[in-house]
Assembly symmetry: C2
C-alpha cells in the first residue's frame, strides 16, 4: 500500500513520534501536520480540542492517508474513540501503546506516569492501564516545567538535571516504581536525563517508540505495509511559521526537512 | 467481549506464550490446545502442518473464540496468511511480533535470530524483518540442542550454560549483534542463561512477551478487550497425555492447571 501515514499533533512534540515511525518503518511515507498556531491544546476546553483535531483530520484525509496517528496526548484522550468510529482507516493514539508497553515491562505492578497537567488530570493513563489490568498501581505526576525547558532547547546538562531531579522527587523518594511512562511527546527529548535521575532499575517507556511499534503491528495486521523499494519522501505541514518548525525539527531530532508547507485549516 | 482467546501449539512450547497472555491480559480467558500427540511439527511436510493446524483451528472455532494466537513458529510460517484469509476473527502469529520488537530495539541494525532447524531454514524471520526494514542485517542460527534440553527440564546451571555457550558461539564470537530474537517458544525458559552467555549489551527478545503485547494491541484496536471484573478460568486441551501436559505446565511455568481435557481432532 503506497499511501502515506498521516500524523497529527498540536505542534512540534509529535515529531518525536514521527522520528520513531521513520526509524522503525523506513519504507513508509509520512504526512505530518502540526497545529503550531493553536498550540498547546492542553489548556483548551474539550470541545475546542475536538473541533481543531477534526479540522486536522479533514485536511489529512484529503491527502489519501492509509492510517492516522494522533501524536498528541490531549487529542488522543479526547478524540480517539470518536475518530475510530468516524473514519474507515485505522486510528492509533499515543496513550494505549505506552500503557501496554508498561504492563509488559513491569514486574512489581507499580507504574509511574509523567505528563502535562492536562494529561495527568484527565486520568487517561490510569484508565488505559486499569482497563487492561486492574491490579496495577499507578503513580502519576504532572511535570509542568519540562515542556518550556525542552522548547528552550535545554535537554541535558546541569540545569536539565536539576529541573528533572526536583520534578521527579515525589516519584523517586518512594523508590517503588519499576517502570515510568513518558506521557508527553516532548519528554523523549529528556529521556537520557530522566533515566539518569531515576536510575537504571527503572525502565523508561517512550510513547513515541511504542506508538511506532503498534503502527507497525496494525499495518502488518491489516496488510497495509508498503513492501516495495522506493525513495521515501515525507511531507510536513504546519499552521504556523514554517521556518520555526523546520528549525526545531533539525535541532531536536536531526530530521532533515526540505520543505515545510503551510496548512490552512477551516478556522485558522 | 467475554469470549475467550484461543491459543494453538504443536505441544507444550506455546505455554510460554499463554503464560505471558495471562500476565499481560489478566482479565482475559484462554482456551489452549496443544497437539502433543503429533508434536513436533518442525520436521513435518508443509501440507501436513497446514492440515493439522486447520484441525486445531476447527476445534477452537467451535468454542467461540474471539481471537486466535498461533503460538508455534512452524505453524505461523505455514498458515498465518491462510488463516487470516479464512477466518473472520483476528489471527496473531509469533514471528512478526518478535521481528517488530527487534526493529524497535536495535540501534546498530544487526539482529540475531535463533530457532529450530525448521524455523531457521524457512527464513521466516529474515523475511519478516526485511519486509519492514530492508537494511537490517540478520544473523540466524539453528540451536537443535535447546528443545531436548528444555524438555529434560535443564534450564539453568552448569550443563545449561555449557550447551547454550557452545551453541551460541558463532553469534557471540562476532560480537556485533545488539538484539537477539528467541525464535522458538521453548527458548524463553532458557532466557536467563542465554542472557548471561550473550552479555548485558545484547537485548534478548522473547516472542511470547511480544506476541502477548500485540494481542493486547489488536484486542484494544478492535474493541474486543474484556473490561469487566470476573474470576478468570482458563481451559487447556491436549491431544496427548493430560497428566504429562499438566506436569510440564506446573514445572515450567508454575501455571496452576486444575484440569487438562483431551481433544479429539479429526485425524488423531
Amino acid at each position: 500500500m503506497d499511501q502515506p501515514i498521516g500524523v497529527i499533533d498540536s505542534g512540534v512534540g509529535g515529531l518525536t513520534v514521527a522520528s520513531e515511525l521513520m526509524r522503525q518503518l523506513p519504507k513508509e511515507q509520512l504526512i505530518y501536520l502540526g497545529d503550531t498556531l493553536r498550540c498547546p491544546y492542553g489548556p483548551r476546553p474539550k470541545e475546542e480540542v475536538i473541533q481543531y483535531t477534526l479540522e486536522m483530520v479533514d485536511f489529512l484525509m484529503k491527502k489519501n492517508i492509509k492510517l492516522l496517528v494522533i501524536a498528541c496526548n490531549t487529542a488522543t484522550a479526547f478524540t480517539l474513540d470518536l475518530l475510530r468510529e468516524k473514519l474507515t482507516i485505522p486510528v492509533i493514539g499515543v496513550i494505549q501503546p505506552g500503557a501496554r508497553a508498561a504492563i509488559k515491562t513491569t514486574q512489581n505492578m507499580k507504574i509511574g506516569v509523567i505528563g502535562t497537567e492536562g494529561t495527568i488530570t484527565s486520568k487517561a493513563y490510569p484508565d488505559a492501564l486499569h482497563s487492561i489490568h486492574s491490579d496495577i498501581n499507578v503513580y502519576d505526576l504532572a511535570c509542568p516545567r519540562f515542556v518550556p525547558m525542552v522548547e528552550k532547547g535545554v535537554l541535558t546538562g546541569e540545569e536539565a538535571y536539576r529541573v528533572v531531579e526536583e520534578s521527579l522527587q515525589p516519584l523517586k523518594s518512594e523508590k517503588i516504581i519499576d517502570t515510568l511512562i513518558l506521557g508527553c511527546t516532548h519528554y523523549p527529548l529528556l529521556k537520557d536525563t530522566i533515566q539518569s535521575v531515576m536510575g537504571e532499575e527503572v525502565t523508561v517507556i517512550s510513547s513515541g517508540e511504542e506508538t511506532a511499534r503498534e503502527v507497525s503491528a496494525i499495518l502488518g495486521y491489516q496488510a497495509l505495509l508498503y513492501e516495495g523499494e522506493r525513495a521515501t519522501k515525507h511531507v510536513f505541514y504546519t499552521t504556523g511559521s514554517s521556518e520555526v518548525f523546520a528549525h526545531i525539527a533539525k535541532q531536536w531530532l536531526d530530521i532533515p526537512i526540505a520543505t515545510v508547507e503551510t496548512a490552512y485549516l477551516i478556522s485558522t
